[in-house]
């Protein structure tokens, strides 16, 4: 019945090591000038990878039932709704408002 049994301490150790390596990687890459956009994209990609590892293994999401996935997904989905629709205003304000004609 329990999901925790499915994971051994060894797996936790591996995940922990991976998280440390990713931290080192993201810190290192931050010092390379890849252009502001690319730096951000890489930093966020690594952060997402780390978060996914924590979710899947430390939080046992990988071994949880679909309902748990749906809830975790809903949190993310709603956050993205808020983000994208708000940014649809912020990013188009100057180009479309067209104060001057």
């Amino acid at each position: 019945m329990t999901s925790a049994h499915a994971i051994t301490l060894k797996t936790y150790g591996a995940v922990f090591t991976a998280l440390l390596l990713l931290t080192a990687l993201t810190t290192g890459v931050a010092f390379l000038d890849l252009g502001s956009y690319f730096n951000t994209v890489i930093a966020l990609t690594i952060a997402c990878a780390k978060a996914t590892l924590v979710l899947l293994y430390f939080m046992h999401l990988r071994y949880s039932r679909p309902l748990t996935w749906v809830i975790a997904g809903a949190g993310l989905f709603w956050f993205l709704i808020m983000m994208s629709l708000t940014m649809s205003d912020v990013l188009t304000r100057e180009t479309v408002t067209g104060l001057i004609r």
């Binding site: 998280l19 690594i46 952060a47 924590v54 430390f58 809903a74 956050f79």
Partner: protein
Amino acid sequence: MSDSRLVHAHQFDDAEQQRDAASLGMWIFLATEVMFFGGMFLGYTIYRSMYAEAFAAASNRIDLIPGVINTTILILSSFTMASAVYHAALGRGRALQISLLLTIVLGAAFLGIKLYEYHEKFEELLVPGALFSFPAPFSAAAEIFFSFYFAMTGMHAVHMIIGFGLLAKLLFDARRGRYSAGYYTPVELVGLYWHFVDIVWIFLFPLLYLLGRHL
């Protein structure tokens, strides 16, 4: 371990239903937390898109070393928390207690370093308000950056402090032998919470500390 601990509350049919319900409730709560922090991430993103250079410059004023150390500490504490759940599931009371204690110590270390960082900001006049001071071109936007810095890390710290309370309670109960291989739901739930707080930091670290390092 007596079976009396497997007894479930009156509204449930059996212990498994109770455990499922508790875990479901925790996940729903975490979805709530996503939106709670999400509001601040949204604000951060908007200003970041408006004042990219100022944010980068402001971010470079944050000392990187304590940040890296804290990130490592927090990941380590997530690991000890995960092993606490692991040992609890196997009914290893002693290992459970040690893991919990380690988690608490690591969390305290994190907060200690955080406090040191806040102190540093005070000394460098980087705390938003009347005394805030930042070199001319970016002063306004840098104040916004540090407003977010304090709001986000502050909220994160508040969550850690709540986590402390929960961990202390777990440790207390574990010492009294309340948990067994058949009943360790509270350990699991606090674990979920603690890992979530870790995830928040995983995003805060690059967004606050690493923003302008390439400049």
